[in-house]
């Protein structure tokens, strides 16, 4: 192991710790802070199950954004969908499937389920390029529309550029400059606790670029607007059921 490999190993652990501790602290901070009053944006579901379904509608379909702005919804949805697909494809690496490959075995789930999942799984294989396209769409909209340009800070562009760098390098690796997949796997597996550390694939600068940006994103996450990923589940206007006449809502500080 050369010093540069140790740097990347160290970066991974540092970024992982910043992400876990920072995000964990935020979640805890939201969780311990009470909602003294019932404030769902109405009309709202009257039951807890209904409120959960409402939040699910926001998380899975961005329903409110759809009502608010179709272009932002379209590019935003595309971006999040392609992130979800990318995360899914990266997540199966431990099963022995390379990120770009499609040779995952679903037969263990039974033939019917396997036939159903197979085509979708194979299709995700081709969705990669949509990610940078979606990010470019969002960037263009942010800079183009006078109102969003007015509300944008350097940080808003920086995060989109970070995502563009991650997505762009990912697509390039898949279609243009394929890295040494074995070396990459070896290195990434070595990051798992319990595995021996493996050298970083120094011959694949594009991979190292991709990897470094992902680590940066993880470190920025707890201190940026990326917190919306967790925060949406804590937003009282969406997650509270509308039942104040039926159930008396009391929090300690507000009942003295």
């Amino acid at each position: 192991m050369n010093p540069i490999s140790w740097f990347f190993v160290g970066l991974a652990y540092f970024a992982g710790a910043v992400f876990a501790l920072g995000f964990g602290w935020k979640l805890w901070s939201w969780l311990r802070t009470p909602n003294p009053l019932i404030i769902p944006t109405t009309p709202a579901p009257t039951t807890t199950g209904g409120a959960a379904a409402r939040v699910a509608g926001e998380v899975l379909f961005f329903k409110s954004l759809f009502r608010g702005n179709r272009w932002t919804w379209f590019f935003g949805y595309l971006m999040h969908l392609s992130i979800a697909v990318a995360l899914m494809r990266h997540a199966v690496v431990p099963l022995g499937v390379p990120v770009g490959g499609s040779d995952l075995d679903f037969t263990a789930l039974g033939p019917a389920a396997s036939d159903l999942i197979r085509p979708f799984w194979d299709a995700t294989f081709r969705l990669g390029p949509l990610f940078p396209i979606a990010v470019i769409g969002l960037l263009a909209r942010r800079a183009w529309v006078e109102r969003t340009r007015y509300i944008s800070y350097a940080a808003d562009y920086a995060i989109l550029l970070l995502l563009l760098g991650i997505g762009g390098s990912g697509v390039l690796m898949k279609y243009v400059w394929e890295p040494d997949v074995d070396a990459v796997h070896h290195f990434v597996f070595g990051l798992n606790p319990g595995h021996p550390f493996a050298p970083a694939p120094l011959g694949d600068p594009l991979f190292l670029f991709h990897f470094t940006l992902v680590m940066t994103l993880m470190m920025v996450f707890p201190f940026s607007k990326l917190l919306h990923v967790g925060g949406i589940f804590f937003s009282p206007t969406r997650s509270q059921p509308d039942n104040p006449r039926e159930v008396r809502h009391v929090t300690p500080w507000a009942s003295q």
Binding site: T41, G76, R147, I151, D156, F223, D242
Partner: protein
């Protein structure tokens, strides 16, 4: 005031170009010492206001999850930017909901987040300077807390919560708004926002009884402080004196009369409005709400019914149980509290009221959803009952009913432009401009369908439209209450 000009009525709502500082000079009067100290705030701006403001922010962040989450998670997506009536009316970019939030969020970042501490320029973090404070005072009093932006936010971020917090911080350092704080003082000493003493209230009600007797030949009563009545009616005090509000009050009285429900008003709780909400101050809001509890206990009533008032209904429906409950001493067969529209609608459905809709034949009616009713409450058992129940009443008492553009009704309704503690003369320019979206939608149905009556169930909407409609060359009589129509159509006397 002569220089106030209303936007042209074209029937269309157009998103304006950004015009920096367009409404920067519109600001409310600062509350004087007497109005501040009376309701528990420092009389004037304290010397160490900056530290105290940050401390207050820290305190609120620990008390309200909404504030913390909303300040943390906005992604500046821009979905809200063209949704606020004050932005649409003024073009001032600081009236875009996200930009309004940013006035507070930028300070939050500076003092509470690592990014704001170390790279303030990158993330849009600002020191709390005197200029920032002045900007807060201007733009957090250009928000009517109508929650329209929240509807379209992917995370439900509600600018109302942010502006309430900002006003609370400003009050805590001695920089309050005169209009709201003076009114809160009045309701806490006299019992209502208008400062009507008991005797004057009793006289007014007597006069109204006499007028009702003259016009209907029936003894419609408006009882005050009657112990043992079944229903305590708590209504905005504007209903006692203002036009067209008072017509609605007579309407409630006729409904109770005809249904044979024993009811009373209370001079102690002669106000449904609760401006404690507007300034985001929990203690004041609770104290005002507790007056209703005391009146209910003292008078020994079995039910509480709230009159036509938007934010009052929010406080009553959503918060009364928390602020002044539990209500286990009241009749459990009825929700606590009930909206007067729920009562009337129920009576209509049971056939308990005889109605003659031809009495409203001179009107083609549309319905203006008031923001706090639409987006912060419910009526009846089902979500959306707050839309269906008042419309159900209107359709039962008037034959010609027309909806406005669906992009401007129900949960997408536009504020009248005078809510949230902005119904004061020095903000008239803003109020006229903020009414633009609603006035455009109204104009369209006036032209296409001959609408000449816009029914509303909010005292602030009624007062605001009465004042601003003439600027748009629309007759002020176009605005009225739902129970004003009920009052016209209800047939008093024996049932056939």
């Amino acid at each position: 005031m002569a220089d106030i000009k209303a936007p042209e009525l074209t029937g269309r709502i157009e998103v304006p170009a950004v015009s920096e500082g367009a409404s920067a000079e519109i600001r409310p009067h600062v509350a004087g010492e007497a109005h501040m100290t009376k309701i528990g705030f420092p009389g004037k701006l304290v010397d160490d206001w900056q530290e105290r403001a940050i401390e207050k922010m820290r305190d609120l962040l620990s008390k309200y999850r909404s504030l913390q989450v909303f300040l943390d998670i906005c992604v500046q997506c821009g979905s809200c930017t063209d949704k606020c009536h004050y932005f649409l009316g003024t073009g001032d970019p600081k009236n875009m909901p996200v930009a309004r939030q940013e006035l507070l969020r930028s300070v939050y970042r500076r003092y509470f987040t690592p990014g704001g501490k170390y790279v303030p320029g990158w993330v849009g973090a600002r020191d709390l300077t005197e200029d920032v404070l002045k900007e807060w005072f201007v733009y957090f009093h250009q928000c009517s807390q109508c929650r329209r932006c929240s509807v379209f936010c992917p995370y439900g971020i509600d600018t109302a919560e942010i502006s309430m917090a900002a006003r609370e911080i400003m009050d805590s350092i001695g920089m309050g708004q005169k209009y709201s704080n003076e009114i809160i003082g009045k309701v806490q000493t006299i019992g209502n926002n208008l400062g009507i003493p008991d005797r004057a209230l009793a006289d007014t009600l007597e006069t109204l009884e006499e007028e009702a007797k003259e016009s209907t030949n029936v003894d419609v009563k408006l009882p005050l402080n009657v112990k043992g009545a079944d229903v305590l009616l708590v209504t905005p005090s504007a209903d006692f004196f203002s036009e067209p509000h008072v017509e609605g009050l007579v309407g409630y009285a006729k409904v109770f009369h005809q249904a044979g429900i024993s009811w009373t008003l209370s001079s102690y709780a002669s106000e449904a409005a609760n401006f404690g909400l507007f300034i985001g101050n929990y203690d004041n809001m609770r104290k005002i709400a507790q007056r209703i509890r005391k009146a209910a206990i003292d008078l020994g009533v079995k039910r509480i019914v709230i009159g036509e008032c938007g934010h009052a209904w929010r406080v009553a429906y959503s918060f009364l149980n928390t602020l002044a409950g539990p209500w286990d001493f009241l009749d459990s067969r009825y929700p606590v509290p009930q909206h007067v529209c729920e009562v009337t609608y129920d009576l209509i459905n049971r056939g308990a009221l005889k109605l003659d809709p031809t009495a409203n034949d001179q009107y083609t009616v549309t319905f203006h959803d008031s923001c706090n009713v639409a987006r912060a409450s419910r009526m009846g058992d089902q979500p959306g009952g707050q839309f269906e129940i008042p419309r159900g009443i209107v359709k039962a008492v008037a034959k010609k009913f027309v909806e406005m553009d669906p992009g401007t009704t129900r949960d997408r309704t536009f504020c009248c432009g005078g809510g949230g503690g902005l119904l004061t003369d020095e903000l008239l320019d803003l109020r006229v401009k903020g009414a633009m979206p609603r006035m455009q939608a109204l104009k369209r149905v006036m032209d296409s369908d001959g609408v000449n009556y816009m029914a509303s169930i909010c005292a602030i909407c009624k007062a605001q439209f009465t004042k601003i409609m003439p600027y748009y060359k629309v007759p002020r009589e176009t605005i009225g209450g739902v129970h004003q129509l009920v009052s016209n159509a209800i047939v008093l006397g024996g049932k056939e």
